[in-house]
Symmetry: C2
Subunit: 352 residues, 2 copies
């Protein structure tokens, strides 16, 4: 591996400078992405065609000296493979043709075999690994069981989560049986990504943060913990780090850190230094710049980078990132400035 800063930081080992990657770094803010997207039939064609997924994954690495690549895919590939029929509507996000609501529908859901039903993902992972040729590590990912269940039951994005919470409150056993099925599937899906070449994996718990404390622990974190326990943690002699990220989950950092994962994703609300104090030396931290800073001038971006690096302070275990995906309107030149600032301003924190 030519640049293993990202993996080393996740394992809290010394690095020469703080590594950075950016959530949604392959995406709509890049003109070359928009070009390839405009030629594809739809968004899922990009995900399901390994050559296209690979090309899109590589695009930001050609522009910026990022320290990791992330598989271009969607968090909802699993429910699609379960037969729910994923599609995307302009401006409204993901939707399912056949949402599930009843115990019978949940009982009838099959558990996909990732190497068959999600073969296109594994082919993309292998192809990207070959294309990367050891330049930087490749991140695989999945949605969390609770987050997948939310979309599967609501049928798409929602503001009030009435259907999924209704089922959870009224028929908790039925919800648990769905989450259990999803946890099994996510485990085998991520293990297949690792076997195909993913060198770290991240679980996105986009909607855990809408739950009460009790419900978060029982219906979201509990299943992420099961996944962490079932993952391949070492592959071909290399440790495979696991990152958990619950959006709006700052209430539960200590509990997420206790699952046995290697790193936590952070949004921008909590200063990263405070998060570090709370989780101690248990896990690495990934984050936590407000994505809106990228609308600002290069000077303002640099200032914010400096402030976040100073908040984390000396020592190991920081992967720089935004606290959420980059917005489609951002000027790629500002991203260049961000990556440069993180590398150049962080070296001082890594002198031994």
């Amino acid at each position: 591996m030519k640049n293993d800063r990202f993996l080393r930081a996740l394992l809290r080992q010394p690095v020469d400078m703080t590594p950075i990657w950016i959530m949604r770094q392959a995406g709509r803010y890049l003109p070359e992405y928009r070009e390839i997207r405009s030629r594809a039939k739809n968004f899922m064609t990009l995900c399901q065609t390994p050559e296209l997924a690979c090309e899109v994954t590589m695009q930001p690495l050609a522009r910026f000296p990022l320290d990791a690549a992330i598989l271009f895919s969607d968090i909802l590939t699993i429910p699609d493979a379960m037969g729910l029929g994923l599609y995307f509507t302009e401006g409204e996000g993901p939707r399912f043709e056949r949402p599930i609501r009843t115990k019978a529908q949940i009982d009838n859901l099959g558990v996909p075999d990732p190497n068959e039903d999600l073969r296109y993902v594994m082919d993309a992972v292998s192809l990207i690994r070959r294309e990367l040729d050891g330049r930087v590590p490749l991140i695989g990912f999945s949605g969390s069981p609770w987050t997948l269940a939310t979309y599967m039951i609501e049928g798409g994005t929602t503001k009030n989560f009435s259907q999924v919470k209704g089922l959870m409150f009224e028929q908790p056993d039925v919800m648990h049986s769905l989450l259990d099925k999803l946890a099994q599937t996510v485990t085998s899906y991520l293990n297949a990504q690792i076997a195909a070449g993913a060198q770290a994996v991240m679980i996105f718990d986009t909607w855990g943060g809408i739950l009460t404390n009790r419900d978060y622990l029982a219906f979201s974190l509990n299943y992420m913990q099961k996944i962490v326990q079932g993952l391949t943690r070492e592959y071909e002699g290399q440790r495979v780090p696991v990152i958990l990220f619950t959006k709006e989950g700052n209430e539960w950092l200590e509990k997420i850190a206790a699952t046995g994962c290697d790193a936590l994703g952070l949004d921008w609300k909590l200063p990263i230094g405070e998060a570090r104090k709370r989780v101690g030396d248990k896990v690495a931290l990934q984050g936590n710049m407000d994505p809106c800073i990228l609308y600002s001038s290069p000077e303002r971006i640099r200032e914010e980078v400096a402030s976040i690096l100073a908040s984390f302070g000396n020592g190991n275990g920081h992967v720089f990132n935004l606290g959420h995906g980059i917005h489609p309107q951002i000027d790629p030149e500002h991203v260049k400035e961000l990556v440069e600032a993180v590398h150049s301003l962080s070296a001082v924190y890594h002198q031994s």
Copy 2:
């Protein structure tokens, strides 16, 4: 006052049972509200016609033994009075005809005189007080300066807050001058509501929770604190309690409590007992049931009420509420069950 449980609880004085009111208790889940709304030209007609605002305010009190009434109005009356042209679109929420973006536009904004430019609000408050006839206290309210600024700059609801954060990051002085103007206006607006008859006031900081720690303190909490310091805290011999509510603001409870307010609004993510431990005996707490529980059966609602009451425990300073506004789809019979459960299950926590 026939029932002053709500005011006593806000001031952490002994009560016979835990008082309850419900955010958006006058609203679309009530058929009688939908009926009157369908006859009005638009939503703002309801707010701007004191007789209609009064009728709508009283509707939930006719159905349920709630412990407070809240003025029927909108958080965006102030920017409307500043000339931005508030209107509502079906399914998209509030919008402004003339959003503001530049220093010149902000410099040109007038500071409204609440007794002239927002006379309709004061007339509604007086009328409701007369109509209530001492039955329960009346709550007045406003949006927080930061929340008002968000809508004024974005022109409506937004997902990524790029305009308002762009101005904040790039021209913090311009943003501060807008927030200062808004803080002055909110102060005189709430003081006018108090003079017209509001017996407690609440500030809704709907969008403070999208900020980093540093920005929240500087651009949101700072201005709420100025307002708290400028409010009429005693009127005609009665203490007028102030409630602050930052949605998604659990990171900052201690800091909000230190502003000098009397009570904090809580969403449902943090167990209320934990919040109580954190703010000690400094303030009362208002909340914190997940609004989605109201989709459930009466038994499940009762169970959740019992759990929240137990989490708060013995002693004074709890006003029961949802952690967010009630959803329009809720069955009013479930609200009846909720109010009954809070009153009957809480008495045991108030025995001396």
